[in-house]
Symmetry: C2
Subunit: 264 residues, 2 copies
């Protein structure tokens, strides 16, 4: 029924950019910020650049790892400045926003979505990108594509607010960060969110990857001393097509039946 957006900044080195990000979020009605391995978010410069979005910075959560920051998320969108050699397709900002709008429609259960922004110069590491279920790129002039980090947060927040909100211009914003799909007058009651019918959380996916790893090592398919690209390719596939809770349960069941066959 609604999509809850969490912004995650990873490795930000300039405090001013954290302030700019908070300001960009708040202007578009978002408020939930998580920080991984960034500079000080309550520094004087961060607060100054936030220009009144102090509350966003003050309520920001610090996490030790990106894995921890997205553990409760159903969709994890990584932002990427560069076109890399990836099997996951890079998608436009608008296309992702449109997908989230469709997910926030009447009858859909609640989902938590992380928008992840990497370090100013280097962006997100491959390890961080491996935790993402979608990759977003802001279309830019190919001859001049260096978008400032605060500007990138602003564009993403703007595009999400345009797609997700159904309120007229000038009207007061709904509960920040949480957009509800437009409701028809006699719409059916909202189903309670059954975790089996939501995409698995990042935490559940980690348990699945550990299980898959164990089975592949036991059958001799994966040599743990020489995993080459195997682990990453499997992770990329299942993360970019994150299964529902109920589908993940089937995969776990198959893996368990391989470990303990009922007959041969």
């Amino acid at each position: 029924m609604s999509v809850e957006i969490v912004f995650v900044m990873v490795g930000t080195t300039h405090t001013g950019n954290l302030g700019a990000a908070a300001r960009a979020m708040k202007t578009m009605g978002f408020s939930r910020l998580r920080l991984v391995d960034t500079c000080a978010h309550l520094s004087a410069e961060a607060l100054a650049r936030s220009s009144g979005a102090n509350d966003v910075l003050q309520e920001a959560q610090r996490c030790d790892t990106l894995q921890e920051a997205v553990a409760d998320c159903h969709i994890v969108v990584g932002t990427s400045a560069r076109a890399r050699q990836l099997s996951v397709p890079l998608r436009s900002c608008r296309s992702i926003a449109e997908e989230l709008r469709e997910l926030s429609g009447v009858g859909s259960p609640d989902q938590t979505v992380a928008m992840v922004f990497g370090q100013e110069r280097s962006g997100l590491s491959n390890e961080s990108l491996d935790l993402c279920t979608r990759l977003l790129r802001i279309p830019c002039n190919p001859d001049f594509s260096s978008l400032n980090l605060g500007s990138a947060v602003q564009v993403v927040a703007y595009e999400l607010s345009q797609s997700l909100q159904s309120i007229p211009l000038g009207a007061p914003l709904p509960q920040p960060g949480k957009w509800k799909g437009s409701t028809a007058k006699d719409s059916p009651p909202v189903p309670s969110a059954d975790p089996d019918e939501l995409p698995a959380t990042s935490e559940a996916m980690e348990h699945f990857f550990e299980h898959l790893d164990r089975v592949m090592i036991n059958t001799g398919f994966l040599d743990p001393d020489n995993p080459r690209l195997l682990r990453r390719r499997l992770r990329r596939y299942f993360e970019s097509h994150r299964p529902l809770g109920s589908e993940l349960a089937i995969f776990r069941g198959i893996l368990s039946s391989v470990e303990n066959p009922r007959k041969r």
Copy 2:
């Protein structure tokens, strides 16, 4: 580098609708038509309703099954009039067209895409929908959603031509049915299509499902006498997230290693 569109009509009962579909396709620059279990496509009424799109009807291919009709396809889009109880999300016509436009960009290899239309009254059967990698619904007035089959083909063909063509209005159409992404002047040479880096074909997917079935029966996870929803749910998951050829090869490798473990 380009997306090749094939229209597939399944179980059409009125010859006039085949003519209307051919006409709708041709008006938008498409020409490849495949027919599964339909009425006579070269009847007088079909030819009359095609209104000059006789060539589309005459070159249409007849196939015995939908599986055969989409065997060479990388993406299979089922059209659905009704909102059903499905784990696969129903997507709007525009959202699918937009995705195909992104796939037809510079640097992308050739992909064959089937647009599948079901029977006038009943639509596509569940068995047919199980062969689809995407589900498309044309947004309609909820109080009056009965769209004529020919009109549905027209809307889909229009939306695809709008998204896929980069030619100005009034300019001659490119090679019908095959749209190329816009090419920058000094774009890199088009890579030849490596099947490993394309979504697996429908035929390769069938082999994978047979293999998965065999392994699940051998481990005792699947009772072939009582498969319940297991097979369908797995099929739905992997079809709506169709792996690349290289990813499918990894899955097949894991299954083979389960059948013939190298060590224990």
